[in-house]
Symmetry: C2
Amino acid sequence: MNDESVGIVETKYLNIEEPVLLDSGKALNNVTVAYETYGELNKEKSNAILICHALTGDAHAAGWHEGDKKPGWWEIVIGPGKAIDTERYFVICSNVLGGCKGTTGPSSINPQTGKEYGLEFPVITIRDMVNVQKKLVEYFNITQLYAIIGGSMGGMQVLEWMVSYPKMMKKAMPIATAAMSYPQQIAFNAVGRQSIFSDPNWNGGNYYHLDEIPKNGLSLARMIAHITYLSDESMDIKFGRGLQDKDEISYDFTVDFQVESYLKHQGETFVKRFDANSYLYITKAVDLFDLSLNGSLIDGFKNVEAKVEVLSVDSDWLYPTEQSTEILTALNANDVDASFSEIKSNYGHDAFLLEKGQLNFILSKFLTSNVVTDVMKEVVVTIKSDADVREAANLMLDKQVTHIPVVSDDNELTGIVTSWDLSKSIALNTNLLKDIMTTNVKYCYATDSIDVVARMMSEHDISSLPVVDEDMKVLGIITTDQISHLLS
Amino acid sequence: MNDESVGIVETKYLNIEEPVLLDSGKALNNVTVAYETYGELNKEKSNAILICHALTGDAHAAGWHEGDKKPGWWEIVIGPGKAIDTERYFVICSNVLGGCKGTTGPSSINPQTGKEYGLEFPVITIRDMVNVQKKLVEYFNITQLYAIIGGSMGGMQVLEWMVSYPKMMKKAMPIATAAMSYPQQIAFNAVGRQSIFSDPNWNGGNYYHLDEIPKNGLSLARMIAHITYLSDESMDIKFGRGLQDKDEISYDFTVDFQVESYLKHQGETFVKRFDANSYLYITKAVDLFDLSLNGSLIDGFKNVEAKVEVLSVDSDWLYPTEQSTEILTALNANDVDASFSEIKSNYGHDAFLLEKGQLNFILSKFLTSNVVTDVMKEVVVTIKSDADVREAANLMLDKQVTHIPVVSDDNELTGIVTSWDLSKSIALNTNLLKDIMTTNVKYCYATDSIDVVARMMSEHDISSLPVVDEDMKVLGIITTDQISHLLS
């Protein structure tokens, strides 16, 4: 275990009371979501980051389960002082719908039959996965996530969130992914499914109570997929034509090369941790994924509001960089605040799980709030300047705020009134807001640097500052609490 | 059937009397080679081109088998007037050792047991395949092939020929191939084999008399491999996300996308024409292929003498261009006359079977003999100038030549003596060669253009011309017969 880890963690479970409606038109009852969280949710519930896992991942993104030899799957970027800093952010990761790591999937018990679903489980989509994640986010009473981040199929979930719930995140980072499954990707998934179907032990999906599980088929599916996660260069560096446990080729069909042995091992260990039916459902969800609308990705992204960074890996041939720049282009066409970075790596697709240095740098730069808009509260209580003091007092009590921007009939900022001003009104014996409000009011713009604004607030001993646009219209308010929390 | 086809052809069979010794140390008895030939072998046996087929190809490279709906696999480049012009060249193509298309392989009868070999068949190598091809070439009494050409695994055979029998070809063109199998290529082959091993109907290779053959496993292997033969771009153009026989996705595990249906079809038709055990042996031979010597490809290619053109496909990710330029670099380092071309195509690896225009252009340019060295006869009879006329006459009779270059003691060209000169000696009543030989002799260099040389020979009415190096040493002889045959 290392110093920067979140340490020992546990997977928790949320039972969703209401039926989950699916894209297929069907519904699932008694859905359970397995999830983990790291860090603390702040009072404003504004520091939550949702992490979305890839095809065969799980809720255990960071830290250690008691007794485990390996940490969570994204330990390299999640933890105190890392890019996804658990001393600053509240990190949530849940197992996807259809999975086999605690969230309801085909190996779960169908409440209607009392037996495992098997192929009775409905075909699900990436959007269905996201809808279940949304229930979890709502369970935490979070109305807007600070960020959603994920790679590969996790990146598809990020994109789906951006499109389906555009107001529910400030930032989004889809990594090593695509806005739709392309035929080569579908082809590899289809062959993987075929290898499961072809295994007699699969038995039409009913194998949970049999002596044998379809391990040959699932293992083959994993071997095929695993090739696509690596680059030819990384395989060359890692294996070359090295022989496995022999000095000379043996002219038979035992394993000759290290790469064969490695793949076989990947297949064999995978079947111990994954359910064949889950593999069918999840790869199918990936194949069905397509965010284009009427054949246009620009149309598909037209409602996106998040600040987005698209990230790809130069040696990834499964989700090549072109498919990331396609996302970027469609976002740009919609005037979304979108940027793009490319990880330089010879690891291929798997680089998003491995390139610690580059990932921490890019994630950290993207997540660090450096302009006012990243931390300001957007829903802001204002009061007209012709209002009276009693009105202001009631508003403060009602909305639990200590600072209220005062605006003209045109909604332009004209001053600010604080609880201290109100107490002043008693001494001055006035009921008129304009007698006590501060008219020489400080303000800032949404695009101002947090550093600069924080310095100004500190110099003038201000704890709350209105954020305005160029016409002096109030856009939001920023408090030292928000700043100190995020710059801590 | 089209005008430029060789028309109706038949596969023939050669039985190799002596045992074929294999790289493994084992030997195979009673080996049969299935082959086809197109065009006529010339008198000098200098116009033979050997075509080497890929993984699942066969001897039927061109023309039509009686009643067939499709021509041979390389019909686009082989035929009258095409690049591999059957009016000019004698084209040979044979099924590889280990195959299932007429040449001895695991589905053949083992003469020792009277039953199919199955896994009793010895593991073979690309060199073993080439050695069997060599028996066929020798059967035609061909001592030097004009060219050896092949793509993919066929390209490996070309490279093996160049290295193992450097004097047995004038030209060689390895296409879309590599000088060794790299780990990603091995990985795909290994997974293909695994899918056959995993099929219960494979039954340890003994399925020839059973009701079921391992069609699921073989079909899967083919589906996996087929993905690697196409580029993502070609799949995109061909299929996109088009649905198969439905207007909407059906939220079940039936085939949704055209690409799935296509791959399934590829798998299903493949099992009707190919033997699962052959697939094991041939992919294993490919995996074992490695022409490097002590880890160096430069060392591996040190004996190559052929004029080589290395050809790759820009969108081929199974045998990417880098692996072709690696071959080129190693050849260049050995001062081999080697050049390189790249087919521009979005077809991926399969482009070597499809890009008719580019292939015909590149092949034709490469095959057309345009310098003297390409057509000259290298074994040349010479005579010393102090010899007598009787000696010359005997030599002409013995070697069946009409022109003998006359050389000094240092082997420098000093003249030429022809049968016409000899008849002159009778009139002049002299027995001294120097009295009758032509001393004002015309000659050419090995690197001279055939066109220029042909024009000179025509102008001076010369039918036979010595080819010399810069020191006037005789390298060979070129005749109008050779030129007219190759420029026809």
